[in-house]
């Protein structure tokens, strides 16, 4: 194709060329950043937690009867609850724990290595019984689970604890060694925590601190429970669980919710944000396409005489079509190159607002392909019309 003349002609018609270049550039910049934001939000929504989220049910026991003032009564009630929950048909495992996946927060604390440097590590921090890992669906990859004695010991005051931590936390604190058997302590050195086991996966977003993957479990009883249902049964178990618990003890309220519902609550905000972004992207592509159609049509109409002359000089219809498509491709490509720069610049500003929305090559590539396609399709109509211009126009003298 006649790159030279087409390029030189496009430069001559600065305004017409610049219009499409700027339209394409801005569209690419916006589309790329929208995609980036959407990917970031979707990431929050679909992040793997490593747990069996879809089958988990969360229960809160809210005791109000005065009988619950006694420690022994509390312990007995909790143990009874866990037993009854495990016995419900359709339940694979039940546990008492202060941990709730996808809560967006929870409890956290700091630890340091016994005898090590004064570096403190902050981690999510929960109490549970030995069934918690079965219930969540995570594996203990090193060491062992809690045993019954360790669980019973939680009823008393203690300063020595057995803990199980997530692999991410183990790698953080002991990057080159086996963490099992190592001892940690609280910053004021009042308690000692011995690592007896490590679980493979843990992810629960925690606002305020960057500790989404760090977890520390110790044995403890709680008035909150998690139940793992057999696949598909979670929603149906909700009323059954409530009935079972209230029948066991009427001096408390029982609130039951599936983790799936909690998770969708958590994700809802992001879902809401994704919609306008999708909407704007589609509108933008449509508007840009229409703009290119308009500008190219105008350009073709302006050059009818020229087209006729070219045909008179021997250009076939295909040659005219190729000419306009190539010219459009050239201008679109310049726009895309400019757009790449604009996309990155816009993204730098965007990232100050939404951290995770940094742009990456696959997204830029997707935007480039999209705009090339849109540019081509938009120019096709006017280019086809250009090809139909009759050569006889050249001899017309009006």
């Amino acid at each position: 194709m006649e790159f030279g003349p087409i390029f030189r002609a496009a430069i001559r018609h600065r305004a017409r060329t610049l219009l499409i270049v700027v339209q394409v550039a801005l569209s690419l910049a916006i589309v790329a950043n929208c995609l980036s934001l959407i990917r970031n939000f979707k990431g929050y929504m679909t992040h793997e937690s490593g747990f069996d989220d879809d089958n988990l049910v969360w229960i809160v026991s809210e005791p109000f009867s005065p009988a619950f003032k006694e420690d022994a009564y509390q312990i007995a009630s909790i143990d009874d609850d866990v037993r009854r929950l495990s016995a419900i048909p359709g339940v694979r495992a039940a546990t008492t724990t202060g941990f709730l996946p996808w809560a967006g927060g929870g409890s956290s604390g700091e630890v340091r290595v016994v005898g090590g440097p004064a570096i403190k590590f902050r981690t999510q921090w929960y109490g549970a019984d030995p069934h918690v890992f079965d219930t969540l669906g995570v594996r203990i990859i090193r060491g062992r689970n809690f045993n019954a004695q360790e669980y019973e010991a939680s009823a008393e005051r203690r300063t020595q604890f057995s803990i199980i931590i997530s692999k991410a936390l183990a790698d953080l604190i002991f990057p080159h060694e086996d963490a099992v058997g190592k001892r940690l302590e609280d910053p004021d050195r009042l308690e000692v925590y011995t690592i007896v086991g490590i679980i493979d996966k843990f992810y629960s977003p925690y606002g305020g601190w960057p500790i989404d993957e760090y977890a520390l479990f110790m044995t403890d009883r709680n008035f909150t429970y998690l139940v793992r249902a057999e696949p598909g049964k979670a929603a149906g178990l909700v009323p059954v669980i409530e009935r079972t618990l209230l029948r066991a003890n009427d001096g408390r309220n029982a609130r039951v919710k599936t983790v799936h519902e909690l998770r969708s609550d958590y994700a809802y905000g992001y879902q809401l944000a994704v919609m306008p972004l999708n909407f704007v992207m589609i509108l933008l592509v449509v508007v840009t396409a229409l703009g290119i159609v308009g500008t190219t049509s105008f350009s073709v109409a302006e050059r009818r005489r020229q087209i006729g002359t070219r045909r008179a000089l021997g250009a076939t219809r295909q040659a005219i079509l190729r000419h306009f498509l190539f010219e459009n491709w050239l201008v679109t490509t310049v726009g895309i190159l400019l757009g790449l720069g604009l996309a990155v610049a816009l993204n730098i500003g965007l990232v100050t607002l939404v951290e995770g929305a940094k742009i990456e090559w696959p997204i830029l590539a997707a935007g480039v392909v999209l705009l090339w396609t849109v540019g081509l399709l938009a120019a096709l109509g006017p280019a086809l019309r250009a090809a139909q211009v009759p050569p006889a126009i050249a001899t017309r003298n009006v």
């Binding site: 006649e2 000089l313 021997g314 295909q318 040659a319 050569p391």
Partner: protein, 244 residues
């Protein structure tokens, strides 16, 4: 070179049918310089469009350089236009976005010639019309006469056998017009057949033959100067006198 037999061209606008060319027959020998005069609306432009394969026709036959070009695909007609015909238009029809070099280049590009040959042809043609110093100028920077000379260079670069000129001096003052006519003579002496539509009787008189169109028909046939000699044999060629 050019032979038309009973060509009829119709224009249909709504329910009205106009015959722009009626039963038109004409023979132009190779190397002739023929002018065509006629009132406006007589069909001069239509004849040029048909002769130059710019437009199709409904009835009749047309031979160009021995080849029957009456019914051809657009692709073939474009190729023939490109290789065998050169146009010179009244309004020059240079492409305003391109400089002189690129304008002359246009038909050569469609012939897919290699860059080196194109450049040689362009430079030679532009030199022949005396505009080498303006090679990189744009049409808006040239006078009317210079623009028409560029158009002629565009024709020369392609070295076609038939040149169709539509009032080539119509938009020029007399001084420039004479220059253009001299150039056309030069081209004709080089062996190309020239068919020129014109209003101007002075220029029309410079031709070998002068034709007149009225109402879509060829009316007068006037031999002005002797036929050109056949370049190979040196013999004068016979003029074919068509009936009607």
């Amino acid at each position: 070179m050019l032979k038309m037999e009973n060509v009829t061209k119709l224009y249909r606008t709504g329910l009205v049918e106009t015959r722009a060319l009626r039963d038109f027959s004409l023979v132009v020998e190779e190397g002739e310089f023929v002018t065509i005069t006629g009132p406006s609306g007589s069909g001069k432009t239509t004849f040029l469009n048909v002769a130059g394969l710019l437009d199709a026709f409904e009835e009749g036959k047309y031979w160009l350089d021995g080849l029957d070009v009456s019914r051809h695909t657009d692709r073939d007609m474009s190729r023939i236009r490109n290789e065998k015909i050169g146009f010179i238009f009244q309004s020059f029809n240079l492409i305003p976005d391109l400089n002189v070099f690129d304008n002359v280049d246009v038909p050569l590009r469609y012939r897919r010639l290699p860059a080196k040959e194109r450049r040689e042809r362009i430079e030679r043609a532009v030199a022949q019309v005396g505009l080498t110093s303006r090679l990189r100028h744009f049409p808006s920077q040239l006078s009317g006469g210079q623009q028409q000379r560029v158009a002629i260079a565009r024709v020369l670069a392609g070295d076609p056998k038939l040149i169709l000129a539509d009032e080539p001096t119509g938009n020029l003052d007399s001084g420039m017009a004479r220059e253009i006519m001299d150039l056309l003579d030069e081209i004709n002496h080089g062996g190309a057949t020239v068919v020129m539509v014109t209003h101007n009787s002075e220029y029309a008189a410079r031709a070998h033959r002068r034709l007149h169109i009225a109402d879509g028909r060829l009316v007068d046939l006037e031999r002005i100067t002797p036929l050109p000699l056949n370049r190979l044999t040196g013999e004068a060629r016979q003029a074919a006198v068509p009936a009607g």
